[in-house]
């Protein structure tokens, strides 16, 4: 499998390759190599630390989009048991860009939702690279209402570049499907816990992406618009996405500061794909903790707190 190298980690990868090359040589025959390897190893370690411990917002967006990054289906497989997938919107079709299913997390029966990117090109074509059509959102809405009916908490994983900007998606009411989900989520009488695991692309993410808690992975992002498109609109130059990514305040850290997200789950140095098991554990614990808190409350309290949370989102002045 071809390794995906992000632009900013290229110098590190080159060093790592050199190191691997050296290690292939016969160290017994050339004892002086051992010292060289040790010094290069130290250098690689230093560079890795320097590179990954202070990622810029734009670099985090690239990590969030890394093809090897754990996906919704990985979290479902790692954390949940007894999974029953639910398919179809009962109106038009089944959109594989969105997963919906009954699943159990450490004994807690849940309704799981998530954007579903593929692991390879074939899967990605079937799943439209995780960009839903209206029927995907409508399937999710069906699952939300079912969750409400049987008092199952909803756990939703966000990982989409956005709702699909296609002809048929528009003709079948993309805006209508998203808006209906927002209305449904806002009043759903069961707890809703959202986890940003990768990309949080605008309305397509929001349609299954707000509730009683928002947990963000360290390198996940959530944004009103993609940095590239924002740069196109502002400067007619997508290459300025890096500076725009900083302006948009789209990182987990930014969103915790803005009080849109509740907590951040740390990732291993270099990103979740470097050691997924650590991340699954962190996410599992955070979700369970949130579910425990929410399930201890009366559902009226949960729903009214969600309402208040939405009402106070925004910054403005009253004036005059």
């Amino acid at each position: 499998m071809v390794r995906h190298v992000m632009e900013f980690e290229r110098p590190l990868v080159e060093l790592e390759d050199q190191l691997a090359e050296l290690k292939r040589l016969d160290v017994i025959a050339q004892p002086e190599l051992a010292a060289e390897i040790a010094s290069l190893e130290a250098e690689v370690e230093m560079l890795r630390e320097a590179l990954y411990s202070a990622l810029s917002p734009w670099e985090r967006v690239q990590v969030a989009r890394h093809p090897d990054r754990p996906k919704t289906q990985d979290y479902v497989a790692a954390l949940f048991t007894d999974v029953v997938e639910l398919r179809g919107d009962r109106t038009f079709g089944d959109d594989e860009a969105i997963f919906a299913g009954l699943a159990t997390l450490d004994g807690v029966k849940c309704m799981v939702l998530g954007h579903r990117k593929g692991k390879n090109t074939k899967e990605n074509i079937r799943r439209n690279f995780g960009s839903p059509h209206p029927e995907g959102f409508r399937k999710a809405r069906r699952a939300m209402l079912l969750a409400e009916k049987f008092q199952l908490p909803v756990v939703s994983f966000l990982d989409t570049a956005g709702a699909y900007p296609g002809i048929e998606a528009e003709e079948r009411g993309q805006s209508w499907a998203i808006a209906e989900n927002l209305a449904t989520l806002s009043a759903l009488r069961t707890p809703v816990v959202v986890v940003g695991i990768g990309e949080g692309g605008s309305g397509g993410a929001l349609a299954i992406g707000f509730g009683d808690r928002l947990i963000m992975l360290e390198n996940a992002y959530y944004s009103v618009i993609s940095p590239e498109m924002c740069a196109m609109i502002l400067y007619k130059d997508p290459a300025r996405a890096a500076e725009v990514a900083s302006s948009l305040k789209l990182t987990a850290e930014d969103l915790v500061r803005l009080r849109i997200a509740d907590e951040m789950v740390a990732e291993p140095l270099g990103g979740a794909h470097r050691d997924p098991a650590v991340v699954y554990q962190g996410v599992g614990e955070a979700v369970l903790r949130a579910l425990e808190e929410l399930r201890a409350q009366d559902i009226d309290e949960v729903v009214s707190a969600r309402s208040e949370r939405l009402s106070r989102t925004g910054m403005f002045v009253e004036g005059e």
Binding site: A163, Y164, P165, G166, I167, A169, E170, E171, R172, G173, Q174, S175, W176, I178, A179, E180, L182, A183, T184, L185, S186, A187, S202, G203, L206, A207, F210, Y222, S223, V224, I225, M229, C230, I233, L234, Y235, E243, V244, S247, L248, K249, L250, D254, L255, L258, I260, S307, L310, S311, T313, G314, M315, F316, V317, E318, G319, E320
Partner: protein
């Protein structure tokens, strides 16, 4: 000039026979219709609600002009006129966001991209929310979202109908995620309102896109659009570029939305007030005297769902 003064200046005047035209263009200017290229006299245009009398093209209307064309004469009372945006993220773009806001206020005389208020419409007590595309493309940031949410809350507490007239490029990207969350906030406000059994009518006008389309407007009980209005989630350029397909000829037009079952009707601007009023004749709550603007109603309306 604050909108309250703007209205004061126009007090006692019928919107159909305004003598000074809009705030944008002085009297006596000739305007070229962007669609058929005919030259139109500004005075005629104002009298015709900015619809070209040669080809029927519906031109952009400012929020104050729109309010005058919908509200019964002299009944509009603006709410939250001073509520306005700040620059919460210190957003740097082609120009600082704070500067864009200042320019928009100067250009429009409005404090934000939506004007809200109480009014009578065909005798029905309503809350009107009208967006003004001149104000940063009527994009929805925190202030627009808050004004919309408060408009729904006001309509709910005074048991008025809600009438929203939209035009927008989408969420206001200069406020980042705070803007995206306004979609959820306004949708929640619309949902709360609708569950109280009160009527909600939306008029989609050219252009309405993105995060605005996909939130409160399309949750209405009855949805109208003006002829030729472009309405969608993703803009046509993005759709074309992503799909690499030729777009259908009337893609995202009001007319095609009717065909695809997304809206109830395309209504010419001259007939809008009358048409919305006719809908409210049917959907008005039993027990609310239609003439009692501002009166609250003691008759509780049953919720849509049980147990609430």
């Amino acid at each position: 000039m604050p909108i309250s003064d703007w209205f004061k200046a126009r007090e006692g005047r019928r919107y159909t026979v305004t003598s000074t035209g809009t705030t944008e263009l002085p009297e006596g200017v000739w305007v070229k219709c962007p669609s058929c290229k005919h030259t139109l006299y500004q005075g005629d245009l104002v009298r015709g609600l900015f619809v070209c009398h040669y080809c029927g093209h519906h031109m952009e209307v400012t929020a104050p002009d729109r309010v005058l064309s919908l509200a019964d004469e002299g009944t509009f009372e603006e709410t939250e006129p001073g509520l306005t945006s700040v620059d919460p993220l210190g957003f740097r773009g082609d120009k600082p966001y704070a500067e864009s806001l200042r320019l928009a206020r100067e250009k429009t005389g409005l404090s934000e991209a939506v004007v809200t208020g109480r009014a009578l419409l065909g005798g029905h007590p309503v809350v009107l929310a009208v967006m003004d595309f001149r104000f940063i493309g009527a994009s929805m940031g925190s202030a627009v979202g808050e004004k919309i949410a408060r408009a729904f809350a006001l309509a709910l507490s005074e048991r008025r109908a809600m009438v929203a007239v939209t035009a927008s490029g989408g969420a206001r990207m200069q406020e980042g995620m705070l803007s995206l969350m306004q979609m959820a906030k306004t949708a929640a406000a619309a949902e709360r309102f609708t569950r109280a059994g009160l009527p909600y009518v939306t008029v989609l006008t050219n252009p309405t896109y993105g995060g605005v389309t996909a939130s409160f407007p399309v949750l209405a009980d009855v949805i109208f659009a003006e002829p030729g209005a472009m309405v969608g989630f993703a803009g046509p350029a993005l759709v074309e570029q992503t799909t690499k397909q030729a777009l259908p000829k009337d893609f995202q037009t009001a007319e095609s939305l009717v065909r695809h079952g997304m809206i109830d009707a395309v209504v010419p601007r001259q007939e809008l007030a009358e048409t919305v009023a006719r809908v409210l004749d049917y959907l008005s709550e039993p027990g609310v005297p239609e003439s009692a603007a501002g009166a609250t109603c003691s008759v509780a309306s049953p919720g849509v769902r049980g147990g609430e």
